[in-house]
């Protein structure tokens, strides 16, 4: 068997005890129909949750539940402290200079929409202005900008993608110009797996005075992130992809910038005062958190970043890198399999999309599933990227901190079985 011990990644991986990690995830012990053990290779879609996260949520509901901010009683104080501690932990996890820079949303999509809406409402993006995104964006980082540019009469422009699946920066200087008001870019592609050189784009955007939004949905779960040195103006990400709960996302933004922007949703908690004539609004982050916030979800996300910190994000990243390298190697042994995206584990996250000659991705996923191997098939909310590569859909296997080489082997075996199934009858 190739791989183990062969690549440069093996050394880093040695210290990381994936079997111990797996014990924290009871779902990984499940067997599925036909007695196949679950081989979960769909973590770019959503990650599983360790016991620690689920227990933190449970304890919160059963022992410390109350509404936050507005309650002055003891339970209210406990709940508020627990909720705001989640914010503090997230801020620490991404190196935010101030905890008030962490705005809780319902998911990454809301975070990206929030930025697009308020930049429109603030008049930052107007008719004739330009917004630049890339062909490899997730729909959640496309549609908000399409809607914004339609509403305002601004123009949406696109970075291309090279044949290898890398961001094409050849026309960086002609694409990002004085007319550009916002550049919004994914850090790690959920389809191609590419890790983009965001620093270069940020530098150019700031040269021309444009704001930079980074979609960190796939980055924050798998690589160490320090927003204090990144240089971006906003970073969006989502709890459920980083061993945290559903129902919570994060918008990080530079404090002074957040403080200069109008509110997004109106309601309880985001106001300073309300009169029948007009209302004034609270300072960030509360200005952007209308209504009862995701309280138990903040507690869960806090437990999630604790979990990741205990493992060490360097170790998580090294494991991701090692397992991706192993998978790229093993997958490319399969005849008729084409990886769509970078074929080497260099500047590459743990999502591998591929096509299989003569078998449609749905049929691949279905057959893999019949062997317990869970992958995703379709456009992965990245239709323009699929169009770029002339495919309507792909099959995607994606890895995370609990993925083993044995699972990659199971994937490869199941793919061969699939080829046989559709070819051999």
């Amino acid at each position: 068997m190739p791989g183990r011990g062969a690549g440069p990644w093996a050394a880093e991986d040695a210290a990381y005890d994936v079997e111990a990690v797996r014990k924290d995830f009871p779902i990984l012990e499940r067997t599925l129909a036909g007695d196949h053990p679950l081989v979960y290779l769909d973590s770019a879609n959503t990650s599983h949750k360790p016991r620690q996260v689920v227990e933190a949520i449970e304890q919160h509901y059963l022992q410390h539940n109350a509404n936050v901010a507005r309650a002055m009683h003891q339970l209210g104080a406990e709940a508020s402290e627990a909720f705001e501690l989640g914010r503090t932990k997230v801020a620490g996890f991404i190196g935010a200079p101030r905890r008030e820079e962490v705005v809780f949303t319902k998911n990454a999509s809301e975070a990206l929409n929030l930025v697009a809406r308020v930049l429109g409402d603030a008049g930052t993006v107007r008719e004739g202005d330009e917004v630049v995104i890339s062909e490899m964006e997730h729909h959640s980082n496309i549609v908000p900008w399409q809607l914004l540019t339609e509403r305002t009469g601004a123009t949406l422009r696109w970075f291309g993608v090279t044949d290898e699946g890398r961001l094409d920066l050849d026309d960086l200087d002609t694409l990002v110009t004085e007319r550009t008001k916002v550049v919004s870019l994914t850090w790690v592609s959920n389809m191609l797996g590419t890790i983009n050189p965001v620093e270069r784009v940020i530098a150019r955007a700031h040269e021309v005075g444009a704001l930079v939004v980074i979609d960190g949905s796939q980055a924050v779960p798998q690589i160490p992130v320090d927003v204090s040195t990144l240089g971006a103006d906003f970073v969006a990400f989502t709890g459920h992809k980083m061993v945290g709960p559903t129902g919570i996302g994060v918008l990080w933004g530079r404090y002074d910038l957040l403080a200069s922007l109008p509110p997004f949703l109106g309601g309880g908690e985001m106001i300073e005062t309300v009169t029948m004539e007009r209302s004034t609004f609270a300072a960030p982050p509360h200005r952007f958190e209308a209504g009862t916030p995701p309280i138990a979800q903040s507690v869960g996300l806090g437990a999630a970043v604790d979990y990741l910190t205990t493992l060490g994000m360097e170790n998580v990243a090294a494991h991701e890198q090692a397992i991706t390298a192993y998978a790229l190697e093993r997958l490319q042994e399969v005849d008729g399999l084409t990886v769509v995206g970078p074929k080497e584990a260099v500047q590459r996250g743990g999502a591998i999309s591929f096509t299989l000659d003569d078998v449609h991705p749905h049929d691949v996923a279905q057959l893999l599933d019949s062997r317990g191997v869970a992958v995703r098939a379709g456009h992965h909310c990245a239709k323009p990227a699929h169009q770029r590569f002339g495919v309507q859909s792909t099959t995607r296997a994606s890895f995370y901190l609990y993925t083993t080489e044995a699972e990659v082997d199971a994937l490869v075996d199941a793919i061969r079985h699939t080829q046989h199934y559709f070819g051999g009858r």
Binding site: A33, G34, H360, H362, S370, G378, Q392, R425
Partner: protein, 153 residues
């Protein structure tokens, strides 16, 4: 819920045959209506044309991109409705839809559905039901439009 035997029930020989050799594939003239349907979950697409001759479906032509289930289903659709009165075609559609959405509890009638009974296994796979229904829903939509046009004329 989806072990090897169920997958075999899903991918019946008949389905794979239709997939490999689609009946009536391609877009043809004449037609009264053309529709484009998408399965937003997975991106499967079909462009489908209907040509009516009085009360009869005289052609259903299509260009479909998608999985074996969605392609085979378009092929079977073509077999089952072309040359039939619109009313009969709609009855067949209803029967097919009932089978798909029956969660495995609906007994297919071979006299009505012919090769379509091979899709019985799909009902066990909620995520695939939409694949099987894609071209049928497009047919329903296109035919309704064509009928409206006829009436207006």
């Amino acid at each position: 819920m989806a072990d090897a035997s169920q997958v075999d029930a899903l991918y019946q020989e008949i389905i794979l045959d239709h997939y490999k050799q689609k009946h009536g594939s391609g877009l043809r003239d004449p037609f009264e209506s053309e529709v484009h349907h998408v399965n937003p979950t997975c991106g499967d697409e079909v462009t489908l044309r209907v040509h009516l001759d009085g009360g009869t479906v005289s052609d259903v032509s299509y260009d479909a991109v998608g999985c074996s289930i969605s392609q085979a289903s378009a092929s079977v659709l073509n077999d089952l409705v072309v040359g039939k009165p619109v009313d009969d075609a709609f009855a067949t559609l209803d029967a097919f839809q009932a089978l798909m959405q029956g969660k495995g509890e609906v007994e297919p009638d071979e006299d009505v559905l012919e090769d379509g009974i091979a899709f019985a296994g799909v009902a066990q796979f909620p995520a695939r039901v939409k694949c099987a229904l894609l071209s049928w829903m497009a047919f329903k939509d296109a035919t309704s439009q064509a009928l409206t046009t006829q009436e207006d004329a």
